[in-house]
């Protein structure tokens, strides 16, 4: 979606770094996720084979994307679902809004879907005058707070229990009796139950679109997806076109990777396939099912160097293991998707000019790629964005000039030797003892840490002198 005006990335990051409560919340959630994932993998020695297979499944689907989209459409239609296609976020919003207005819907329940966030569905529903109730507990929390998700698995991970208690006190009638998580969850259960049963339309995402059955698949631990999609008259699914799998068995192969990588569990509590609307005689279920297949930059990624990103199954492991995410949290990234996967996707969705900081604000340590369950080379993709940003002249002039001058010198070894011969003694003048505490033009370094004083003579000079002495 078109990004509203945002403070620059560095300001957002600075604000996040200055928030000690946020850091506690991030450490709790990502620390837990990291430990549980490690334990789940230790108990699953077949993980590496499963990962290679998961990657191959995604690559296969991507290589035959057109075929699988049409197959899915055919089978979903045969089950009675109505399939819609949206080339971009605006089209997707328009389709969903149109279905809601045509059904004269007053109340819509929604089960967490990052794609829904990506296409700006929450705002679109509000603009159409439709009451939207988020049913995932975390989404319920951030809806009460008027915020966006800060993590793709735990959208409210930035909120402490005390903050949640404040939100529930103001937002629940009657307010929860106590501030412990169990009591607060019970309160949400009661409040949302009424909404589930009175909603006109339920909107979900899809973790998988199963081509050979035409089913969409949702996975949740709370059971909110089924309560969102069963009672209302209409069930709408919004899903990215990369969510396709050939069959249910392929979905399970990926699910084993997804759940372990996301939460460290083996299976989500509820894994549900939705194939069309209620069948004749069925005891419950919606009368209509609509599936909105959303491109929004994906066919473009297929054509460029970001194709591998289409493998992403949205587990969040990359952000849980990212040193940058673990310092600044999700909101500082400023897009729908945070962390390493978000730093690759946000330039696709919001444009590189608005997000060039994201692929740059990364140490290239490679831990994200190491934990990715479908082997996405995230650092390579981030470097591809850096390359494009450099080529398109989006990098700051000071950096371009600095790198340019440095490269001119580094490409001339003799000049380089001369530069070190002059530069090192000069730099040493700023030192005291072995350290330099403040160096002009190097505030980025010395504002936060000392710089070891350089050698009086470079290695190359010392080495050459030794060689001469030997001869």
């Amino acid at each position: 979606m078109t990004a509203p005006f945002k403070a620059p990335f560095k300001n957002r990051a600075r604000a996040a770094l200055a928030d000690p409560v946020l850091k506690i919340a991030i450490d709790r959630t990502t620390g837990n996720a990291e430990r549980k994932r490690a334990a789940a993998l230790a108990a699953f020695p077949e993980f590496e084979t499963a990962r290679a297979r998961g990657r191959a499944i995604k690559d296969h689907v991507i290589a035959h994307l057109g075929h699988y989209l049409e197959l899915f459409e055919r089978n979903a239609t045969a089950r009675g679902a109505q399939v819609h296609w949206a080339a971009d976020d605006a089209e997707a919003r328009a389709i969903v809004t149109r279905i809601c207005l045509a059904a004269d819907a007053k109340l819509v329940t929604r089960a967490k879907s990052m794609l829904g966030e990506e296409i700006g569905l929450p705002h679109a529903l509000a603009d159409a005058g439709i009451e939207r109730v988020e049913t995932d507990l975390a989404e319920h929390i951030i809806q009460l707070a008027g915020e966006a998700p800060s993590h793709i698995i735990w959208p409210a991970m930035h909120r402490t229990r005390e903050q949640v208690a404040e939100l529930f006190k103001a937002g629940h009638q009657p307010p929860p009796a106590a501030e412990d998580p169990a009591t607060m969850v019970q309160s949400a259960r009661r409040v949302l139950r009424e909404k589930f049963l009175s909603a006109d339309i339920g909107i979900s995402g899809a973790n998988f679109l199963v081509a050979d059955t035409g089913a969409t698949c949702t996975v949740t631990n709370e059971g909110n997806a089924e309560l969102t999609t069963t009672p209302p008259r209409i069930h709408i699914v919004t899903a990215g076109i990369e969510k396709l799998v050939p069959s249910t068995a392929h979905a399970f192969a990926l699910l084993r990777l997804l759940v372990r990588s996301a939460t460290g569990g083996e299976m989500t509590q509820y894994t549900t396939f939705h194939a069309g609307p209620r069948r004749p005689g069925d005891a419950d279920g919606p009368e209509e099912m609509h599936i909105v297949l959303v491109d929004n930059g994906r066919s473009r990624m297929l054509a460029d160097e970001f194709r591998e990103m289409l493998r992403c199954i949205r587990c969040g492991a990359c952000m849980n293991h990212c040193v940058v995410y673990r310092q600044i949290g999700g909101h500082a990234y400023g897009g729908t998707y945070p962390g390493p996967m978000g730093a690759v996707l946000t330039p696709v969705l919001d444009g590189l000019a608005a997000s060039r900081d994201l692929p740059n604000a990364c140490t290239m340590n490679g831990r994200c790629a190491e934990v990715c369950p479908v082997g996405i080379p995230l650092p390579t993709l981030l470097r591809a964005w850096r390359r494009r940003s450099w080529r398109e002249g989006l990098e700051p002039g000071s950096l371009r000039a600095g790198i340019g001058i440095w490269a001119q010198v580094a490409r001339r070894p003799r000049l380089y030797r001369l530069a070190t011969r002059i530069g090192l003694p000069l730099m040493r003048l700023f030192g005291k003892g072995g350290w330099i505490a403040r160096l002009p033009l190097a505030g980025g370094w010395t504002d936060h840490r000392d710089l070891p004083r350089p050698a009086a003579r470079s290695f190359m000079d010392q080495y050459r002198a030794q060689q001469k002495a030997r001869k």
Binding site: H67, N221, N224, T230, Q269, G276, R279, S299
Partner: protein, 214 residues
């Protein structure tokens, strides 16, 4: 040009003309060859023990009984142990209606705040401790989500070793509107990562595992 045409033609422009569908299908199937190499082994020898171990580890309680006729007694035991009234929602399935429910009061339909419900699982999956239920005329989906206590009957004979074994059956038959794998009671870790049961669905999941083929 419709959005559909624009998307598909953009994809075709990149990928070129596709392979024959039969070849694609064969390639897709080959990706799942040697499934044991890429899935967890069962937790115990024998499907019932493997299932029971996995399910218990997820917080599902298990009562193993010999025959279908023992179900009402097992249900009474469960309700009693949890201080629940003898009234509970029951799936409108003929084989449940045929049992002797004297002393208990099963009823059809599930209230929004139903304390307990009893239903039948179509399958159990030993690998993951999952229960499979399908929507249908005699199986309202909400019965598995509205109650606080969800009690599920599972016949040992219907146990399947792995998720793939269930997937094969699902594609062989016409898939129902909803095919649901339930793996443990409803839970959330959305507040500070603390695990709390009963987020929206049942806070308690109880399996009555029946040895007799039925």
């Amino acid at each position: 040009m419709t959005a559909r045409d624009r998307i598909l033609s953009a994809i075709r422009a990149t990928l070129g003309p596709g392979k024959p569908p039969a070849q694609i299908a064969a390639e897709a199937a080959a990706l799942l060859d040697d499934p044991d190499a890429a899935r967890p082994r069962l937790a115990a020898p024998g499907l019932p023990d493997a299932f029971a171990q996995k399910a218990a580890a997820l917080g599902t309680s298990i009562d193993r009984i010999g025959s279908m006729a023992e179900v009402p007694r097992a249900m009474a035991r469960y309700l009693d142990a949890h201080g629940l009234p003898p009234r509970f929602a029951m799936q409108p399935a003929p084989e449940l209606a045929a049992l002797d429910w004297s002393g208990l009061a099963p009823h059809p339909g599930t209230a929004p705040d139903e304390p307990a419900a009893l239903g039948l699982a179509l399958h159990g999956i030993a690998e993951s401790g999952s229960l499979v239920i399908h929507s249908g005329p005699d199986n309202p989906i909400l019965m598995a989500f509205l109650p606080l206590h969800h009690v599920v009957l599972l016949r040992e004979a219907t146990l399947l070793p792995h998720l793939e074994d269930y997937a094969a059956r699902l594609s062989a038959e016409a898939a129902p509107r909803n095919a649901i794998l339930i793996t443990g009671p409803s839970g959330t870790t959305d507040i500070e990562g603390s695990y709390v049961r009963g987020a929206h669905g049942p806070g308690f999941l109880h399996v009555i595992l029946i040895a007799e083929p039925g």
